[in-house]
Amino acid sequence: MTAQLQRHWTAVCCYDDLVPERGVAALIDCVAVAVFRTHDGALHALSNMDPFSGASVLSRGIVGDREGRPTVASPIYKQVFELATGICLDDPSVSVPTYPARVSNGVVEVCSS
């Protein structure tokens, strides 16, 4: 028997309830995660914690793109993070954790391990 890492998926909400280009926050194993649906239907999940202010707010930022890469801007001091990688495009030495996300039977799920 091979030891297999147990992947744990937590339900967030119905995919149809996600407003395109507007995030929501979800609690995944007691951690706040920001979940976004971009205009093309793709899902992204990253930590909700804004590393510059320490406030749990990234889900409330404005979604857009920078040179074609989908982004969210922190609502506090407006630094821009790339949705796919969590890297801060205004200060690449800073990044936030990202999480796998998927749709299963119409429900958005985020993986926490």
Binding site: T38, S53, A55, V57, G64, A73
Partner: protein, 848 residues
């Protein structure tokens, strides 16, 4: 040992000398003692007429020179020079020894000795104090009950006289101008230009009497009667003399120094008198016998003397007496040999009285070299033409001034041509500055000083930037090449109603935190006209909003929000105050009185906002839009209701204005205030639009703000009734909403508006663009379409559903939000990533 230079006179030119000498005296050879007659430090006399807009003398003050080598003695004029001992005596009896003495005493207005010239009610026009006195007289005249229109007579129809006439009109008097020469501005314009100018000026309600002398002024039943040489009699309340100036050369005369034929301290081209320790500069000097009544030649003299004091060899190069002004909306310019006095000079004239345009170029006998010119009605070409004086013309002179061929290429200017005559800056200097990285007008101003005098060369600076290939980008962000104003016009003119469609048709990509809120604001500003009854969180628009607009509350440092209900005019009942207190207590919120005369409740979590607002809306509160780029508050003072000085109901008006404009989305926030009298307790003059009560109506001030770069508001209209006031504000706001840049408040907007306050007045008072009906309709639609945004959320379950901290755990509060108690109220626990949370405030409450 340091030597001492005494400067007599702290006017514009004396001040310039101090600046220049301090700036260049790197070896600290000189200390400077400035003896000033006036009680205030040097100010911008050229801009004196703008004092009437604000009555703020501070605004005219020139930037002081802060340096330990300068001693400035205000209000202590120099009264005697002892050339043998090299000392001067001041009015207060002080004696100052000098190594060099520079006379910069300026000139005094010439008052012709007509009988009655010294009656009370007769004034000159040179200092803020003169204008204060004229204002008091005008106000007194307004209050008398004698029949007839209140009027003022200006003696002298030159540049200053016309400025004075304008000021009288602003003070509510109807102005008359009497000029002894056969035309207005005889020094600058010729007969043809003068005739057109006169038509313009008369069209503006100024009565003009040219070719008439003022024969006598007589007291007449509490007013005055001005008699002209042809027997005409003018009833008047105020007389202003502006019949030229006389150099103030008395000190020099008393000291036995020679003066020019027509007065003025006689100096050579180095600005030195026959006494090698004494110099003269500015309007009091007669350089090689000639006096100059403009500031630019004075500045050049100051530079010469600064150079000479430091052992240089500069000489006064002669001066450009070019002028361009916009008076009562009329462009007048004259430059070079305007009266064609040179041998063999030819005049090329284009005169179109129907279009209101007169242009004359004076050229050399071979028609190739430009010598001078006169422009009236349209002085667009002034900047380029003036710089070309003395140069070979790039085109046929006739073509240069014909309306179609008027566009001159700035690139054609020779390197040595002067762009800014106030500061003697050449095309070459600008070019070097641009190459060194000064690629905007403000940057050029900072490093070359060009454009910081009279400002008339600013359009030329823009053209030069363009010839250097510097594009002044107006693109909003990487997604739109348009400016906000252009996007506004696109949305207004097309059927595009969503961001997605707009970015697909007119932009690129998916937008960002710059263009999305900007477009959301445009859609909201236009919603009254395009989409009545819509809500800022409807459909896709919700995703465009900044977090503040999205949750209709202000985001705070710890991720919580503040709640600011509208308290129109700052007036609130005890019942409502109690509700605010109860809501704050029940939800554990911090409360504070804001600087905007209302109450802010801080520390609400997202999921608490609907419950808080349900209580508030039930008690009759509505959104205060503290979160929006929208009308914030209209502050008020108590006015006639309570105050013993109030002359109008300021609270009533403030409430009416706040209710009228509430919810109006704009490029930036809008603030207002209404004061019940001139004591101005509501600080209306620091607002985007502010109203101050007068005995008979209201004064409207616009484009002020506090904040980062404070600016006092300018007087737009005075003494108007409430209906006119409201109509003017309606148009002002809609014009701003339509044309301003993103996040540009009204003050910087006005500063960038071509033509400035006069243009604004033309557009919204005189309807010069013919858009007032549109502006009125837009505002009417806004007022009719207003509804409370918070009520809209509470009535719509779909919108309410978004107010959760966590979608998958709606009842759970955000665990990172923690509070500590500070002065008896909750405040955010200071949380920094990786650092422990402070569990008590930095100061402890001490219980006595």
């Amino acid at each position: 040992m340091m030597r001492t230079v005494v400067v007599a006179g702290h006017g514009m030119v004396g001040h310039r000398l101090v600046e220049a000498l301090i700036g260049r005296d790197l070896q600290r050879q000189w200390r400077i003692v400035v003896l000033a007659e006036e009680a205030r430090p040097a100010y911008d006399r050229v801009a004196l007429s703008s004092y009437v807009d604000s009555w703020d003398a501070e605004a005219l003050t020139l930037p002081p020179v802060a340096d330990d080598r300068v001693e400035l003695r205000l209000g202590d004029p120099c009264v005697r020079i002892d050339r043998r001992k090299r000392t001067v005596r001041t009015a207060s009896g002080r004696r100052v020894r000098y190594d060099a003495l520079v006379l910069a005493t300026g000139s005094a207005p010439f008052v012709p000795p007509v009988p009655g010239h010294d009656l009370p009610g007769c004034y000159v026009y040179r200092t803020p104090e003169d204008l204060d006195a004229i204002r008091v007289a005008a106000q007194r005249a307004m209050q008398t009950t004698v029949a007839g229109r209140r009027s003022g007579v200006v003696v002298g129809g030159g540049l200053l006289g016309l400025e004075a006439a304008h000021a009288l009109r602003q003070l509510g008097l109807s102005p008359h101008v009497v000029e002894i020469a056969p035309r207005l501005m005889p020094m600058q314009v010729d007969e043809g230009g003068g005739a057109l100018l006169r038509r313009f000026i008369e069209g503006l309600g100024v009565r003009v009497y040219c070719g008439h002398a003022t024969a006598a002024i007589e007291p007449d039943r509490g007013r005055m009667l001005v008699r002209l040489s042809d027997g005409t009699e003018l009833d008047t309340d105020v007389v202003v003399f502006s019949a030229g100036v006389r150099p103030r050369d008395q000190l020099a005369r008393d000291a036995g120094l020679p003066v020019g034929e027509r007065g003025g301290v006689l100096v050579d081209a180095s600005c030195r008198t026959c006494d090698d320790g004494i110099w003269a500069i500015g309007e009091c000097a007669a350089v090689e016998g000639r006096c100059y009544g403009l500031v630019a030649p004075g500045y050049a003299m100051a530079e010469v003397v600064a150079d000479r004091l430091l052992d240089g060899h500069a000489t006064f190069p002669g001066a450009d007496t070019a002028t361009k002004l916009k008076l009562l909306g009329v462009d007048v310019a004259s430059f070079g040999d305007a009266h064609a006095t040179a041998e063999g000079a030819l005049e090329v004239i284009h005169n179109d009285p129907v279009a209101g345009r007169y242009a004359k170029l004076v050229v050399s006998d071979d028609a190739r070299t430009l010598l001078g010119g006169v422009l009236v009605g349209d002085a667009e070409a002034y900047g380029t033409l003036r710089a070309l004086v003395g140069a070979v013309l790039p085109a046929d002179p006739g073509a240069l001034i014909s309306p179609s061929g008027g566009e001159l290429d700035a690139a054609a200017l020779p390197a040595g041509a002067q762009v800014c005559s106030c500061h003697a800056v050449t095309v070459e200097t600008i070019g070097t500055a641009v190459r060194d990285g000064a690629t905007t007008v403000p940057a050029l101003k900072a490093c070359t000083k060009a454009g910081t005098g009279c400002g008339s060369c600013v359009p030329m600076l823009k053209k030069l930037l363009a010839t250097h290939g510097v594009e002044q980008s107006k693109a909003l962000c990487e997604h739109f090449t348009h400016s906000r104003a252009e996007l506004f016009e696109i949305v207004a003119a097309t059927r595009i109603r969503t961001f997605s469609e707009l970015v697909a048709k007119h932009g690129t990509g998916r937008g960002c935190d710059i263009c999305k809120p900007a477009v959301a604001s445009i859609l909201a500003s236009l919603s009254g006209v395009l989409n009545p009854g819509s809500h800022i969180l409807d459909g896709e628009q919700a995703a465009l909003q900044d977090t503040n607009d999205h949750f209709l509350a202000n985001l705070q440092r710890n991720g919580t929000y503040s709640v600011v209900p509208r308290v129109p005019g700052g007036e609130i009942t005890p019942e409502k105050l109690i509700v605010l207190g109860e809501v704050a207590r029940d939800f554990g919120l911090y409360t504070k009185i804001t600087g905007g005369q209302r109450i802010d409740l801080f520390g609400a979590r997202v999921e608490q906002l609907p419950a808080i607002w349900r209580r508030l809306v039930d008690a009759g509160f509505e959104s205060g839009h503290a979160y929006g780029k929208a009308l914030r508050t209209v502050k008020s003072c108590v006015g006639t209701d309570w105050c013993r000085y109030g002359v109008q109901d300021s609270v009533g008006l403030a409430i009416a204005l706040e209710l009228r404009y509430r919810g109006l989305r704009a490029p930036h926030k809008l603030k207002s205030g209404v004061s019940g009298c001139a004591r101005e307790c509501a600080e209306a003059r620091s607002k985007d639009f502010g109203v101050i009560a007068t005995e008979t109506g209201w004064n409207l001030y616009v484009c002020g703000n506090g904040g980062f770069r404070p600016r006092h508001a300018d007087l737009l209209v005075s003494d108007v009734d409430t209906q006119t006031l409201v109509r003017t504000i309606d148009r002002f706001l809609m014009f701003y909403v339509r044309t301003a840049d993103r996040l540009q408040r009204t003050a910087p907007w006005l500063e960038e508006l071509e033509g400035g306050l006069d243009h604004l007045r033309d557009v919204i008072v005189d309807d010069s663009l013919g858009i007032c009906a549109e502006l009125d309709t837009a505002m009417a639609a806004h007022v009719a379409g207003y509804s409370d945004e918070w009520r809209g959320v509470l009535e719509d379950p779909a919108k309410l559903a978004r107010f959760t901290s966590f979608v998958n755990a709606p009842g759970v509060p955000d665990p990172t939000v923690e509070f500590v108690e500070e002065r008896g109220q909750p405040t955010p626990a200071h949380r920094r990533p990786g650092q422990p949370v402070l569990i008590a405030g930095p100061t402890l409450t001490v219980v006595r």
